[in-house]
């Protein structure tokens, strides 16, 4: 079995974003998706700090401290992009206007519960940012994460043990091992990496999955 690298995972997610989609990429891993968007599609990236039509990182030496993304990294604005204030930006997010948001996660539960803002450790300094708004606002919430923790535990769980970001909000999970849809009937695996069968995926995940993996027909 070949786990996807971070860049391969970003590429896999990017492939599913259709032309014309309005998309927010969360800080961290999801930010990588921007570099993999198909160049022949017009896709609109929104950043919570007040821009729509976010472009790639500027050339070195052309950074503008007044033009940053949610992760506070320098970005650019595409021709046709627009700036707006935080009130308007979160109205856009909360109001269901984004087609897709892609978020990192600590855990996703079988019902789509998301935990991605707080480890729950008593000495941790909590910080939430826009995560809870994105979790409940976008039409589709995609999670992008490693399937397993460093110690080998599944991050897809029956019930989240970390504090929640949003309830039953995740619609699809992209991991380095599989693509899994959250459905009313349960988690439905639709794709695995080459060399990984459904049974082994289910064993690694540790909770029941539905097998909806398309047979390889080539």
């Amino acid at each position: 079995m070949n786990r996807l690298t971070r860049e391969q995972l970003a590429d896999r997610v990017a492939r599913d974003i259709p032309e014309g989609a309005y998309v927010n990429l969360g800080i961290g891993l999801p930010t990588l998706v921007a570099n993999h968007l198909p160049r022949d599609r017009e896709i609109f990236l929104q950043s919570e700090n007040g821009l729509l039509g976010m472009g790639p990182a500027p050339a070195p030496g052309h950074e503008d401290p007044d033009l940053i993304n949610a992760g506070k990294q320098p970005v650019t604005l595409l021709t046709g992009g627009a700036y707006f204030h935080h009130g308007d930006s979160f109205a856009m997010m909360r109001g269901g206007h984004l087609d897709i948001c892609v978020l990192g996660a600590f855990q996703v539960a079988a019902n789509g519960d998301l935990a991605n803002w707080h480890t729950g450790a008593s000495d941790a300094i909590p910080a939430v940012g826009g995560a809870m708004d994105l979790a409940i606002g976008a039409k589709r919430v995609w999670v992008m994460m490693d399937h397993l923790t460093r110690s080998g535990e599944s991050k897809i769980v029956a019930h989240c043990s970390y504090p929640l970001t949003g309830i039953a909000c995740v619609t699809r999970i992209y991991t380095d091992l599989a693509v899994i849809d959250v459905t009313p009937h349960g988690l439905q695996a639709i794709e695995t990496v080459p060399g990984l069968g459904f049974a082994e995926l289910e064993r690694l995940t540790g909770i029941p999955l539905i097998n909806a993996i398309a047979p390889v027909t080539e």
Binding site: E42, F44, G80, A82, M92, G95, H97
Partner: protein, 227 residues
């Protein structure tokens, strides 16, 4: 390539269905999307619920839609005007339902619809006829009523210029309800004086970002003045 331009007003409103809720921009005739309304009349959809500040002026635009008896209910703040005789007659005959909303609550309810809120406590109207039956609450020594969002299937608005991504700028006080209605409808259709090339609108001055707009319909001024 994404191009939201739709050349014909008729095509732009072709999917407005019977029973739809339709927001229509404008304060009086300023910002009223006359050509889109004409196309809506031609389209023939009926049993509409209309959200507009007023209830039509003279015999054109919204008044013509009312006169064609396509409107079941209107949600507005100021129906009675010197030239609102079409509405007045329908109302007196009991042939149109009126939900009268203070103008600021109307705006706020539309904004709440666009921004995903469930309800909000507003001081406007507390203790008046227009608050009858509404939930009230004293918060910090002041009295409020609870108001709910308004959302629509379609918003028909008029802007000054737009581009193929749906970005819009408006002209003077014709801006009024356009930007907030654009956020609260499933499908926002904007008629504009001109569709300009992408990048022509200053990103610092775009009032409605394209995410809120599905279709942009250029109406040449010659066409407009004939309406």
């Amino acid at each position: 390539m994404i191009d939201k331009t739709v050349v014909s007003p008729t095509a732009a409103v072709a999917d407005v269905f019977d029973g739809a809720t339709v927001m229509i921009g404008g304060f009086g005739t300023a910002g009223m999307p006359g050509e889109l309304i004409d196309a809506l009349i031609e389209r023939g959809a009926s049993d509409l619920t209309i959200v507009n500040n007023n209830a039509g002026n003279g015999e054109t635009g919204l008044a013509a839609l009312l006169k064609a008896r396509r409107v079941k209910k209107i949600i507005c703040s100021f129906p009675r005007q010197t030239d609102s005789h079409v509405f007045d007659a329908l109302y007196r005959a009991g042939e149109i339902e009126l939900e009268l909303v203070p103008q600021g609550n109307l705006a706020a309810r539309i904004q709440a619809g666009g921004a995903g809120f469930g309800a909000f406590f507003t001081p406007t109207g507390y203790g008046t006829l227009l608050a009858e039956g509404k939930e009230t609450r004293n918060i910090g020594g002041r009295n409020y009523i609870l108001e709910y969002p308004i959302r629509a299937d379609f918003a028909l608005i008029k802007a000054d210029r737009g581009d193929r991504w749906g970005n819009l700028v408006y002209r003077k006080t014709a801006r009024n309800f356009g930007p907030i209605m654009a956020t609260a409808a499933q499908c926002t259709i904007a008629q504009v004086r001109d569709v300009v090339p992408l990048g022509s609108l200053d990103p610092e001055a775009i009032v409605t970002p394209g995410i809120f707009v599905r279709r942009v319909v250029p109406i040449r001024v010659a066409q407009r003045s004939a309406a």
